[in-house]
């Protein structure tokens, strides 16, 4: 079971690489924001896989909820800032 969790962990890490590349070299700013949101959705899943590997699930679930909330607040604040400032050059 632990091997499967480790495989899933490595797969999630590998699948977050395109998003990180898009965050670094995005054509526009919104591509960067979308990539940041996607990476922020993947980080709690990484955390829950680590917690499953160490068999301490009851410790990590609250942190998973907090990380989802933090991701939501980050993206909403960036979107609100951009909307109220009007056009921003890429």
């Amino acid at each position: 079971m632990t091997i499967s969790y480790t495989l899933v962990l490595i797969a999630i890490l590998g699948l977050s690489l395109p998003y990180i590349g898009r965050v670094i070299t995005g054509p526009t700013m919104f591509d960067r924001v979308i990539g940041l949101n996607a990476v922020g959705t993947k980080v709690p899943l990484l955390l829950i896989m680590i917690v499953l590997i160490y068999d301490r699930v009851d410790m990590g679930v609250d942190l998973v909820l907090a990380l989802f909330l933090l991701n939501l607040v980050t993206t909403l604040l960036i979107a609100k800032y951009v909307r109220e400032k009007g056009r921003i050059s890429p």
């Binding site: 079971m1 499967s4 899933v8 797969a11 999630i12 699948l15 395109p18 998003y19 898009r22 526009t28 919104f30 591509d31 924001v33 979308i34 990539g35 949101n37 996607a38 959705t41 993947k42 709690p44 899943l45 829950i48 499953l52 699930v57 009851d58 679930v61 609250d62 998973v64 909820l65 989802f68 909330l69 939501l72 993206t75 909403l76 979107a79 609100k80 951009v82 909307r83 009007g86 056009r87 921003i88």
Partner: protein, 112 residues
């Protein structure tokens, strides 16, 4: 044992949706297309994976918290998508196919 297998299958289905989202995020040409395909990751990939984990660890309080996380994702992911899309539209981005008729014409633009 059966529940373990079902949970692991759900986790791998979530990984498949993540792969689809990553491919679309690399391949698609536009801000709105990328937003559309990232919605797959937020609304389908992560909750299926969390559901698999919740099935694997059995009916405890932790599984209830994971179900709460799933409900949270289902509520907030369309919110984020809508807000980012409207902010991009106000910020001057247009979809790449705006005002263009598809090849051969569709039924709405055909006359007679």
């Amino acid at each position: 044992m059966m529940m373990d297998l079902i949970g692991m299958g759900l986790i791998f289905i979530g990984l498949f949706f993540m792969l689809v989202a990553a491919l679309g995020f690399v391949r698609l040409p536009d801000v709105f297309c990328r937003l559309h395909v990232t919605g797959i990751l937020d609304t389908l990939g992560a909750p299926i994976m969390l559901l698999g984990v919740a099935i694997q660890i059995g009916p405890t309080l932790v599984a209830g918290k994971l179900l709460l996380a799933i409900a949270f994702l289902f509520m907030t992911s369309p919110l984020v998508g809508h807000l980012l899309a409207s902010a991009a539209l106000e910020g001057g981005h247009l979809p790449e196919t705006a005002g263009r008729v598809p090849e051969g014409g569709d039924s709405a633009s055909r006359k007679g």
